[in-house]
């Protein structure tokens, strides 16, 4: 792999272009969490009442936080990268400069993760305004680090899909068959303990499940040694997805 500090230049290029979209994307990133938190948190929370001694919102927020990172990072490296690669032919001019194909792809993954971080941070801010606070300042800092980790993972996974996608429509398979089911099988909205064993096993294979576990524990400040396994799953999957994503995109970009 031919990576260099030039990853930053691609990130910078995306930041330049983002200036023009910053208001609409901030609005979307704010409105989306409000929908979740208001409808599920307040509407459904009223029926559910207390959940492990705390209002339902305390259960919901950490889950919705990482799923919003997942959504934003994934979409950026699916649609965003595809447009830059196929429609705008941006990668063609990038790889003719000292920026390598790997630099360019890694720069886009970093950008996808950054967009995820913005979404997650906005979501956390809304939650905090609603009175749902992380256990400590350290918890909040750890949550930010978790968002970056989760963002890079889902950006890299999306990059693999983009690398062999023939058209926009193909992304529907990934978003509808993989991303959306994860929202419901990963314990974002309700605990998984009432699932039959096979569904529990299935959910263990979903990276979001592990992200939600860690997020929830960090948010409430109740860390346990069992989380090391979840962290390991995320880190290993992330490393694999990043490597495959770079290699398969390079194969598509360099002919």
């Amino acid at each position: 792999m031919n990576l260099s500090y030039r990853i930053y230049y691609i990130f910078l290029r995306n930041l330049y272009s983002y200036k023009r979209f910053v208001v609409p994307t901030f609005l979307v990133s704010l409105v989306e969490p409000l929908f979740y938190l208001v409808t599920f948190g307040i509407g459904m929370g009223a029926y559910i009442g207390y959940f492990g001694g705390k209002p339902y919102l305390y259960f919901l927020v950490p889950g919705v936080l990482v799923s919003s990172v997942m959504m934003t990072s994934s979409f950026e490296c699916l649609y965003g990268t595809f447009v830059k690669m196929i429609h705008e032919k941006l990668y063609d001019s990038l790889i003719a400069t000292p920026v390598s194909a790997e630099d360019a792809v890694a720069g886009d993954i970093a950008w996808g993760a950054f967009r995820g971080l913005i979404s997650g941070t906005l979501m956390m801010t809304v939650a905090m305004v609603m009175g749902v606070l992380p256990a400590s300042v350290l918890s909040a800092a750890l949550l930010l680090a978790l968002m970056v980790l989760v963002g890079v993972m889902f950006a890299s996974l999306a990059m693999i899909v983009t690398s062999f996608s023939p058209s926009f429509d193909f992304f529907n398979y990934y978003t509808e068959l993989i991303i959306t089911p994860m929202l419901f099988f990963s314990g974002v909205f309700f605990p998984l303990d009432k699932f039959p064993p096979w569904m529990k096993t299935l959910s263990e294979f979903m990276p979001l499940t592990h992200a939600v576990k860690i997020s929830r524990a960090v948010y409430s400040g109740t860390l346990s040694s069992g989380l090391i396994w979840s962290l390991l799953v995320i880190v290993v999957l992330e490393a694999i997805a990043f490597t495959i994503g770079l290699k398969s995109m390079k194969r598509r970009l360099i002919k």
């Binding site: 031919n2 260099s4 030039r6 230049y9 910078l12 290029r13 330049y16 272009s17 023009r20 705008e88 032919k89 941006l90 063609d92 001019s93 990038l94 790889i95 003719a96 400069t97 000292p98 920026v99 390598s100 194909a101 360099i254 002919k255």
Partner: protein
Amino acid sequence: MTKTLVSAKDLRKNYGSLIAVDGISFEIQEGECFGFLGPNGAGKTTTVKMIHCVSPVTSGTLIVNGLPAHINNRALKKMTGIIPQEITLDVDLTVYENLIIFAKFFDIPKREAKKRIAELLHFVELEAKRNSKISELSTGMKRRLLVARALLNHPKLIVADEPTTGLDPQARHLIWQRLRQLKSEGVTLILTTQYMEEAQQLCDRIVVMHQGKILKEGVPSKLVAEQIGREVVEVRVPKEEDERIVGQLTEFSCGHERVGDTLYFYCRDGQGLMKKLVELDLHNYLTRPATLEDVFLKLTGRSLIE
């Protein structure tokens, strides 16, 4: 004493089972303008892509500025400027932002980049469009911006892949002037084109490519003289008349060729031939100087290439 900047030996490129470049050899000297001519799919673009290190070589050797061309060769990419065939400007950014970001890719410090951008916008006459969006530019302006972008890093070698496709005559002449100016400053220029006039205007030497192979190499004017002669006489007569007419014109020792509704004569004494045609009562003819286009068509065939 001229120095060789690019040297290719038995260069090949396959895309799967398709042979795009089929064992070609050539040398490009420092400071010259070298043209690759050929119809669509001849392998011109593939060849220059290998030279500027964005496409891997299948086999053979390709040395640029003393280094093997390779997709990971950042040193070569740093000294090369590319004017691409397709308009690959960053549509999310303004004219100025396009250039400042591209300067970053080459590690050009910001102050130097700003100065260079001002010079280049002047050079391609786009100062007034500094803060415009790309979508607000005409095709000619976009192509000029591509020229400016290719020059940010003070390239030693410029690769221009069909740089004037789709331009009106004014815009085309402006680009030609700029390319000639760069050449006079000592930059080496590699050009691919389908426009014979462009090759004649700019190139010191050309190769004619067809189906991945080099058919002929040489100085444009000499190639015309060798391959065609001085003049071309076109006679529009039915095919059945060919034998009779050619029989009457043996004294002129012309080459001749029948394509569609036209009989072509390639000769040195066009005037004499014309007089004879009038004597033969053939008035539907046209005489003109031989051009590179005749060489091109003779070598690659006059029928359509898909």
